[in-house]
């Protein structure tokens, strides 16, 4: 992909971002947006809707799109497997399990005081620690991959047990949570979200060179002086932070983390992770914002879950790119 084309895609982010801000039950003008940002009046419904509904949706869209795509790329490189994604380590399963406990068991600590998001965050944190613990103990990355899958199966089974005992309303509530949404985030959640997101991105900068070495194989990377085990732990740590955070606030969002890195590799035709990370960052944002824009645009006719839209527009698009590259 030429630099000019890439810059054009970068410029598309503010365009689609603005589209996202304006789509909804009513139109918003720029003077109102300015007022809401710099002179917020909580009694003005329009300002409230901009500041506490649409802006958080846009910001979390940017964070979730970029975070999932980057996590997917890291896991694909770490496991040298294009089918790996951000959820391969089972961290999202921890978030899902604790969200299920919060929504469906009636344990008052999780359901009342704590709420679904905090419960999911706790679950992601616990499962992140477990997988990090295993990565310290285990050398083989295949074993680590298997442990991630087993953690997913284990928590999946527990969720099934909880589902079998819950009532219809709770079941529906949980099912809806699993469909993903960018609308559950509040303005006051951002300090903590941004703190962890920026921390993950800073750590990411230090992994670019080791990632380029790991692509040619872990043994060769070790010969080149890369501390493979440390890099692995850092990669898992970054993925755990990003996927845990995003799953807690948005539910499990499908497809982005799997498809976007593969799409970027096809478009950029490089193994340079500086470009791949940048590409995943940009295309992850574009992909998720576009999906959410469609969800909002079609709202009055049909309420589509975000997960359905990401896969519905993503899958044919990726197939098309693959066919074009093969031709």
């Amino acid at each position: 992909m030429s630099k000019l084309k890439f810059y054009t895609f970068i410029l598309l982010i503010p365009v689609i971002g603005t589209l996202n801000l304006t789509v909804g039950q009513f139109d918003l003008d720029f003077s109102l947006m300015k007022e809401a940002l710099f002179n917020f009046d909580s009694t003005d419904t329009y300002q409230v809707i901009f500041r506490d509904f649409r802006l958080p949706r846009l910001i979390i869209g940017i964070i979730a799109g970029s975070g999932l795509a980057i996590s997917g790329l890291l896991m694909q490189t770490l496991f040298n497997n294009p089918l790996a994604g951000p959820y391969i380590l089972g961290i999202n399963s921890g978030a899902s399990l604790f969200a299920a406990i919060s929504i469906m068991t009636g344990v008052s600590f999780f359901s009342s005081q704590f709420g679904t998001i905090s419960s999911a965050l706790l679950g992601a944190f616990i499962f992140g620690l477990i997988i990090l613990g295993f990565s310290l103990l285990i050398r083989s990355k295949v074993s680590l991959l298997l442990i991630g899958v087993m953690l997913g199966s284990f928590s999946g089974a527990l969720i099934t047990v909880i589902q079998s005992m819950s009532d219809a309303f709770q079941l529906k509530k949980f099912t809806i949570w699993t469909m993903g949404s960018l609308q559950q985030v509040n303005f006051e959640d951002f300090p903590i979200i941004l703190l962890f997101y920026v921390l993950a991105l800073i750590l990411l900068i230090f992994t670019i060179k080791p990632l380029n070495a790991i692509v040619i194989g872990e043994e060769q990377a070790a010969i080149l002086g890369v501390r493979v085990k440390v890099v692995r732990i850092v990669l898992i740590f970054i993925t755990a932070i990003l996927t845990g955070l995003i799953t807690a606030y948005c539910g499990p969002i499908a497809f982005v983390g799997l498809a976007v890195p593969n799409l970027v590799k096809l478009l950029f035709k490089t193994q340079n992770h500086k470009m791949l990370i940048l590409g995943s960052f940009v295309f992850g944002i574009l992909f998720l914002l576009l999906s959410d824009w469609l969800v909002q645009l079609l709202w009055s006719d049909i309420h589509l879950p975000l997960n359905a839209v990401t896969s519905l527009i993503g899958a044919p698009f990726v197939i098309l790119i693959i066919l074009k590259k093969l031709a």
Binding site: Y46, V48, D52, F53, Q113, G115, D167, A168
Partner: protein, 365 residues
């Protein structure tokens, strides 16, 4: 002579077996005032129960309620009344049977998690009642084992699981569409179905007449209030806010309670699905919020802190019935006057009366 009369009524039934509901000459339709999903037809000594599918407004099932000494009508489902046993698979059925003092006839229930009634719970613990489970894990084996006379189940336009086999064994499966009634008294009127099945039609009718009177007394009291508070209703599930539509059962209750329900002019008998943005736009300054599906503000705000923007939340004017969910579902259908009474207590404090609440409570901190 008896044969001729029998022949006459059988012919009458066969002619009346058209899909649409209409009164046939020579028959007397039992006085059903508000319910639209069942009819009772009395033709001389013969009584027929018709269940009407609310989707199609056509007769879904017609039963001959066969009294002692009467013979079966060929080709027709003949339920011998009074029935001695019943599977009551919805909480509202338990509430109605309780009002008729007929809990001893209940041998099968759905899921014990949805039961409030202490007698039913105690009988279940003592092994006198079996459960078929609920939420998609139903088993018909307890029904077969208990050989109940009738299975009363919530109708969804489909037969009950293994209905054909059960009916061959003389176990009749009757769909109950009380939950699809739009008038609060229409829902309560289904007690008459239980009355006819149990041979307690007079008790059922008397009970219904009493609550009808009480309901209209309260309705007139509410109309006398000088206040007509604004109210919105429903809760957020995922990204969708479900609110009662303007022609729904709940909207009718709000109208009868002299409330200014924000979506009273909307079309539809079910739910409106709206975005949170839309709800906030319409209701930021609405005085009261009903049915947020929470029992405390802590719970409400832990799951969605944006709720603080509603004036109703700031003023703590939020009420829900989910403090005793099973009690509400079991009794509110058969005691709509108590729901109305709750609304008058909550919304019309200018009317001097006792301030007891039956189902609703203000959300706790």
């Amino acid at each position: 002579m008896k044969f001729l009369r029998f022949f006459f009524f059988v012919s009458l039934f066969l002619f009346s077996c058209k899909s649409t509901v209409k009164k046939e000459e020579g028959t007397k339709i039992g006085l059903i005032k508000y319910a639209s999903n069942f009819k009772i037809e009395e033709a001389g000594e013969f009584t027929f129960l018709m269940i009407i599918n609310p989707e199609t407004n056509e007769i879904e099932n017609k039963y001959f309620l066969k009294k002692e000494g009467q013979e079966d009508i060929q080709g027709m489902l003949s339920v011998s009344v009074p029935i001695k046993s019943i599977a009551a698979l919805s909480s509202t059925h338990i509430g109605m049977l309780n009002k008729l003092n007929s809990l001893d006839e209940v041998l099968i229930i759905s899921d014990t998690n949805y039961i409030y009634n202490k007698t039913i719970k105690s009988r279940f613990r003592n092994g006198l009642i079996e459960s078929v489970g609920g939420d998609g894990v139903e088993s018909v084996e307890p029904i077969l084992y208990s050989r109940v006379n009738v299975v009363m189940f919530s109708g969804f336009g489909k037969p009950f699981s293994h209905q054909d086999k059960l009916e061959k064994l003389g176990i009749y499966c009757i769909p109950n569409y009380d939950w699809r009634e739009f008038h609060p008294l229409g829902k309560a009127e289904w007690i008459k179905v239980f009355g006819y099945l149990l041979g307690k039609e007079k008790e059922a009718s008397d009970y219904f007449d009493r609550i009808e009177r009480e309901y209209f007394n309260l309705l007139n009291l509410a109309k006398a209030s000088v206040k007509k508070p604004t109210v919105f209703s429903g809760s957020l599930l995922g990204d969708v806010w479900y609110a009662p539509a303007g022609e729904s059962f709940n909207a009718k209750l709000y109208e009868d309670a002299n409330l200014d329900y924000v979506y009273s002019q909307s079309k539809g008998t079910g739910s409106l699905d709206k975005s949170f943005e839309e709800i906030l736009l319409d209701n930021q300054n609405t005085e009261y919020w009903l049915n947020p599906n929470s029992t405390s503000f802590t719970d409400l705000l832990a799951n969605q802190s944006k709720m603080t923007y509603f004036k109703a939340v700031q003023d703590k004017k939020v009420y829900d019935y989910s403090f005793q969910m099973n009690y509400f579902w079991e009794n509110s259908a058969i005691e709509p006057q108590k729901v109305l009474s709750d609304f008058i207590t909550i919304f019309h404090n200018d009317i001097k009366r006792d301030d007891s609440l039956y189902f609703y409570q203000q959300l706790k901190d």
